[in-house]
Symmetry: C2
Subunit: 600 residues, 2 copies
Amino acid sequence: MRSAIRIGAFRGLPSLNSAPLRPGANGLRNHVPRRLLVPPSAALHSKSPDCSEALAPAAKLPEAESVPAVTPRERISIADIKERRAKAGRLIAPTAAYSDADMFKAPTTGKPKAKRWDHYLTEESLSREPCKLKQAAKHLKTPGLISLGGGLPCPEYFPISSLTLHVATPPDFSEAATLEGGGEDITIGKYDAGFSKPSTTSSPSTAPGTGEPKSEYDLSIALNYAQASGSAQMTRFVTEHVELVGVPPYADWRTCLTVGSTGALEQALRMLLRAGDTLVIEEFSFSTALETAAPLGVGFAGAPVDEEGLLPDGLDALLTGWDAAGRGRGGGRRKPHVLYTVPSGQNPTGATQSERRRRDIYEVARRHDLFIIEDEPYYYLQMHEGPAPPPRTVDDFLDRLIPTYLSMDVDGRVLRMDSFSKVVVPGSRMGWITAPEQIVERFIRHSEVANQGPSGFSQVILHKLLDERWGHEGYMRWLMNLRLEYTKRRDVMAAACDEFLPKEVVSWNPPKAGMFQWLKVNHELHPHASTKSILDMEEEIFDRCIAKGVLVARGSWFRAEQDKPPSGLYFRTTFAAASPDNMREAIRRLGEAIRESYRM
Amino acid sequence: MRSAIRIGAFRGLPSLNSAPLRPGANGLRNHVPRRLLVPPSAALHSKSPDCSEALAPAAKLPEAESVPAVTPRERISIADIKERRAKAGRLIAPTAAYSDADMFKAPTTGKPKAKRWDHYLTEESLSREPCKLKQAAKHLKTPGLISLGGGLPCPEYFPISSLTLHVATPPDFSEAATLEGGGEDITIGKYDAGFSKPSTTSSPSTAPGTGEPKSEYDLSIALNYAQASGSAQMTRFVTEHVELVGVPPYADWRTCLTVGSTGALEQALRMLLRAGDTLVIEEFSFSTALETAAPLGVGFAGAPVDEEGLLPDGLDALLTGWDAAGRGRGGGRRKPHVLYTVPSGQNPTGATQSERRRRDIYEVARRHDLFIIEDEPYYYLQMHEGPAPPPRTVDDFLDRLIPTYLSMDVDGRVLRMDSFSKVVVPGSRMGWITAPEQIVERFIRHSEVANQGPSGFSQVILHKLLDERWGHEGYMRWLMNLRLEYTKRRDVMAAACDEFLPKEVVSWNPPKAGMFQWLKVNHELHPHASTKSILDMEEEIFDRCIAKGVLVARGSWFRAEQDKPPSGLYFRTTFAAASPDNMREAIRRLGEAIRESYRM
């Protein structure tokens, strides 16, 4: 019924479909000795080619070992996590307490450590020193110590003494019910955790009948300064969440809260790329990601994609054929060493990489020693495809999710970015990364001076809702419900496209994840195809859309390589925001705009 | 009674006390024509000396005009602001609405525009392009338009339907009362502003009896994506707040919310300084500011200070004597063009610049075309000095505040950073900048890709409390109360120092603002003065302190120029955090540690 398209067919490079990927024979891990951190005065203030070269050796490919084709994804169960928490007892994490994922995750003994990335880290990242004032917090563990150290305001002067949230409840999390008599209240007090004392004589809140503090987290902690990596309370939650979805196969993985994936991406790019470097990216990519990297002096190499996203052979060819000497592709730039990809519900193409596709891409990454930034805001919005009923249990839901790059990352070459924006609220400005300890440690050093981690309001509110009230089970059920809601929305848009778009010129694949429908318009059939450029046609249709009352995103906004001529005419529409009726009407208007432009 | 000290006496430079500052005779403003933004492909991907030089002409000093010595600070009254709001009517600012300070501030007709800063902006900053997806929001104003553009989630899927804050109330804002039956509740609903509709059939919340929407801001707006400059609602509040304290004397000033001054500083530095540049800074400065700038390849020139902070003649001498040719101070680096200063309650010295001092420093900045980053987290914590009673009215309070650099900035050479961290809650991770439009516009372009502005939870909570409930009057009263609380705390610490510290070797000035007491210990009197280095003495005393149960900050952490030998032995203590009893006990322990080290 719908026309399947291959988006962005392989351009300008010889087909490598017949050349299978060649994993190296050498099984030794390519460990680089730990490089001493160079003090800023020595490292950063000189930008000589020598210094740069020392950090970026000529592209001599390490022989990669073969990734086991069917590594079973290792997941930890909710029951195991509950048991571990029960054994650990109450979390003692007062104001600005240090924490890391290792404090909360299951033992990883026997697993190898991640590869070292000293050869890719930038001078900026390598020269970061720990925040002296935050480091001094280690002395706070000394019993009886009084701190006149950090300038942390006394919580007595916080004008908010409690926050009460009214929230949706399982199993259906209905907004209507929550607004009209249903739902539940959660109250967060200032001194619920009992670490600080109020200025009054009244004692801190305790749970009824127990004499124990009411909670492990409260406003006196959350609203004060904290470690830039995030509160211990939320670090525990996201670390366990990663375990539920699939742990990396190496030992020293860590997590770190972020101010959303927007901030995480900028920090990651500054850590791994310097001016003059090239980032490999889907040939159509999230425009904000391009806008983040470009001012750093980073160029883009758009890798070809099909309806399953990145093409492994295309990626391999791009890298194998890279010409650092300056004549062909690459134009004298050093060979790319970082891949940025959105594997599920890619923005803007909506493409979702299958498990096989991910394993093949990972293999190419190993062969060329590519570091992978896995940006997964839409991961949990993997659509339900009938006719089988949707998963009933959390286990079944998790089993059916496409494995993450993180879960197959035997080397430790993946920095995964997760976000609460698309699945809880964008306004939390909060997410987290998961990556090898070395990478996370450098990332935190940057967070200390870039933002000091996410808002305490966001942290304590999401902690109370996701961890304390819903728990992992409840949060997974929220995600299970949300993906079904987005599946319904996608189906409304797909039906509207079927009904209103002229299939003679428009083709599309309903996406298997995410929020976006990518539409290819055959520019060769346009009545002015011989005289008008693709960009002019795009602009004309866009303007007609606005005149008719529909805003769509122009395909050209997302082109990785803006200096190349466009290969096709595309539009992106989202089914996230408008009501079903409005979505139908909007697609009808879009269809009309295209028909008019095509004189149909 | 207390020993007054001159901190960091003028080192290694000839005294210029006898050479008065020479304002230029030329009254013409030094307008640089607006430089076209260089596209990233052209500007950023080449780092040739030629290109750099084009952006940074050799340090030929513009002839500055004289700043009127007694410009009265221009303030706008609360009554004026109320009247303006009443005339403007209800603020219509739905999800992701664009706004800027010009929409909210009093007319500035007849005032000159700020100087242009093209010659100082970095390639990175100049090459930033507006976020395409956020720019598309302009079409949302088209009546009847349905957006399939940005991937904004539908608020139906926000699991929080209301937030209720329990807050302190004027006049005394007592925590005890707020915790025990006093205080007030503020509830923020999801659809209070009536722009979005709930999924149910029930209508949006309206104010009782009016049929009008209950509020101008709600969770459906605050928890969705927003403009990176901050919500219109909070932009209005901070813009008016700036007007209450003192407007800049030029026309095109703007505000922009930040993720706190931590993030604002990093963004400002990346906008103004490139690797190899030198930042002028107090000779003892906030260690995190040093840690922010150093990895960017920025060096530091520590300017001499006394108990009123920066010394104008010292600053002038430092710049006049700068040797860009490589032999003397400067060592071949280009002459500094940015000053970072904390004018009130400076961290760590506690020094507060008087109005006269600020005017003199500003004059030096004009003479050397220095751009000023004014970091003022402690501005409102200006202590009350008896015996006169504290101000009773908001007007009186505002009159007595030392004028800001912003309010005397005739050129538009100041970027001021304000923060809610020290005066409301650090966990808001929110503040704002005020600066010329050109600077703020470039800053916003960076915020779009660095963080997308502060958390929506922080914005809506602070808006409801500060704007909707307390209003400007109430917030000023909160600040008036807070400064008295900090004055009490400072007095407790000063008394404890008097009682417990050995005045034979320790000297200090009780600070006139902020959170910090800076202590100078006479290293020359140490029994091991001839054999031990200052850093070793410092470490020994610090370790004794920890052993005795008190954490203080070491003076050397704050030294701007770490490669020079230390000039003295210092410690910083804070009176912000500990209870009065603990503060006394902690200073007693510190005194003991010093006495033991000095064998007293």
